[in-house]
């Protein structure tokens, strides 16, 4: 059979337009190849086993990432959600290719720098290694003047990282207050650790997450555009495909909403802007909106939310009261 004929037949089948005789012709071609040597016959039995295991392990990995993910219990008393993270559990992200860490000499006395943002403020700065960080409102990041070995920073709140890759492949770790760690060599991602949940969104690169529960470990591979979050126990994580830029839009002074509930918006107002949000009735929180709001001026932001969600916003010092507009 010629290549053109084969291409034609395959396309006919693909389009669902193949006539019975065309189908038969293709099947006959397929069948005639059955006489070729069987690949695995030529393998030694350990090699065959290696192939069997290799594929099976991959399949199992695939099954893990497709398993239905537990739904985050955001529902109950969201406003009172100040539950601290319990347990010391580490979710460790490793760069795909784990390479040996270079030996390093013990460091001299180093000074720790801390950058802290007020409510509603965002700030971009460069770390000693050239990596760039943007802090969202009500967040802080601590790091030493210089790094002698692995690069480690401590984060509370939310930050966007643009990590540079060093020649000697030094690991970069973000540690949040609950001992959750993100380790990478060079990539772009957002880490958020707020009172109600911890979240990592990967914009660029590829990382493997090891959900480390003491000795036994479970692992997930994060690809660009994937999000991992959990509220208390890292093992009850949620993994989903998202538009990663939505989660880092704040660094460009925008809040992008895609069918976002007022409940989620209220959470942002509490975490990033430090308001105590009160609603007239819980059903208001179910309202959903899409669009883009500027975050440069919090009053404009509030007005935008009021407009989009059809609510009245009354502000009293640090408190916000939401009431239905249609009333």
């Amino acid at each position: 059979m010629t290549q053109q004929r084969l291409t034609f037949l395959l396309e006919q089948v693909q389009r669902g337009q193949a006539s019975p005789s065309e189908r038969l012709e293709l099947e006959a071609w397929y069948q005639q190849l059955e006489n070729r040597p069987a690949f695995t016959e030529g393998l030694s039995s350990p090699a065959r086993q290696a192939l069997e295991e290799k594929m099976f392990n991959r399949i199992q990995q695939g099954m893990e990432s497709e398993k239905p993910v537990p739904v985050r219990p955001l529902g109950r008393s969201w406003m009172g959600w100040v539950a601290g993270m319990t347990g010391v559990v580490a979710l460790v992200m490793l760069w795909m290719y784990l390479r040996p860490q270079p030996e390093s000499t013990p460091g001299l006395a180093v000074h720790t720098q801390t950058q802290k943002t007020a409510y509603g403020e965002t700030r971009t700065f460069t770390l000693p290694d050239g990596s760039e960080v943007t802090l969202n409102g009500n967040s802080s990041l601590s790091y030493p003047d210089t790094w002698t070995k692995d690069r480690e920073v401590r984060l509370t709140g939310e930050a966007y990282f643009k990590v540079v890759h060093t020649k000697d492949h030094r690991r970069f770790s973000v540690i949040t207050a609950d001992d959750f760690r993100v380790n990478v060599l060079g990539t772009q991602f957002t880490v958020s650790h707020r009172s109600h949940q911890t979240r990592v969104v990967l914009n660029e690169g590829k990382v493997q997450c090891l959900l480390n529960e003491k000795a036994e470990a479970d692992s997930i591979v994060l690809k660009p555009g994937q999000l991992v979050e959990f509220s208390r126990k890292p093992e009850q994580y949620t993994l989903k495909e998202v538009d990663a830029s939505l989660y880092s839009a704040w660094k460009d002074h925008k809040l992008i909403l895609r069918n976002t509930s007022l409940k989620e918006l209220a959470q942002v107002l509490e975490d990033t802007y430090g308001y105590d949000v009160n609603v007239e009735k819980a059903s208001l929180l179910e309202r959903r909106v899409s669009g883009s709001l500027p975050t440069t001026d919090v009053h404009v932001l509030l007005a935008g939310i009021a407009e989009a969600c059809k609510v009245h916003i009354r502000q009293e010092e640090g408190r916000i009261y939401l009431t239905d507009q249609s009333r």
Partner: protein, 183 residues
């Protein structure tokens, strides 16, 4: 089959173990590339798993799997042909030995590294791994044999696999590097 539909992983594994070789051989005869074959077989089984609840197999499982495979291969060849029109697929098929030996060598090499990695595993993990994978014991049997709780056996096995995966990943990476240097 009914067990599979309930989401029984052991039943799924049994199916894989029973069919992988015949399916792989069948794919290799038409595709002539180990990477592509691996991908096709992995996809086939993942599909089977994800669609398990919606499957209604009217014929035998045998026929179902091989038909599904045939369509996967059709799709694969078609995309190859359209993607890279210059690749003379049909001519390549005429020389079945071209990749075969190289691909077989790859698995011998892989096996060699697996063996090495296995030797580096802590004793307790290696024992469980070998009983399960080389002597085909079930987890329950291993638990009785080693006098361990069954969930410990499962955890050891998971850990063993994870360590092996890491070792092999490093190995594959060096292989890739080597290729980069040569080319």
């Amino acid at each position: 089959m009914a067990l599979l539909q309930e989401g029984d992983r052991a039943a799924f594994e049994l199916l894989y173990r029973k069919y992988w070789r015949r399916l792989y051989d069948s794919a290799y005869k038409r595709v002539q590339s180990r990477e592509d074959c691996e991908e096709i077989i992995q996809e086939l089984f993942l599909d089977l798993w994800t669609k398990r609840q919606h499957l209604s197999i009217t014929t035998s499982l045998d026929v179902y799997l091989f038909t599904a495979l045939r369509y996967k291969i059709y799709n694969h060849i078609r995309s190859q042909l359209t993607k890279r029109a210059h690749v003379d697929y049909v001519t390549r098929l005429g020389m079945p030995q071209a990749n075969l030996v190289e691909d077989q060598l790859y698995y011998e090499e892989l096996q060699h590294h697996l063996h090495e990695s296995l030797a580096q595993l802590p004793e307790k993990y290696r024992r469980v791994y070998e009983l399960s994978r080389h002597q085909q014991y079930t987890y329950r049997e291993i638990a009785q044999l080693l006098n361990l709780p069954i969930d410990t056996v499962e955890k050891h096995m998971a850990r063993a696999l994870q360590l092996l995966r890491l070792h092999l990943k490093e190995h594959l990476f060096t292989l890739l590097l080597a290729v980069d240097l040569i080319s």
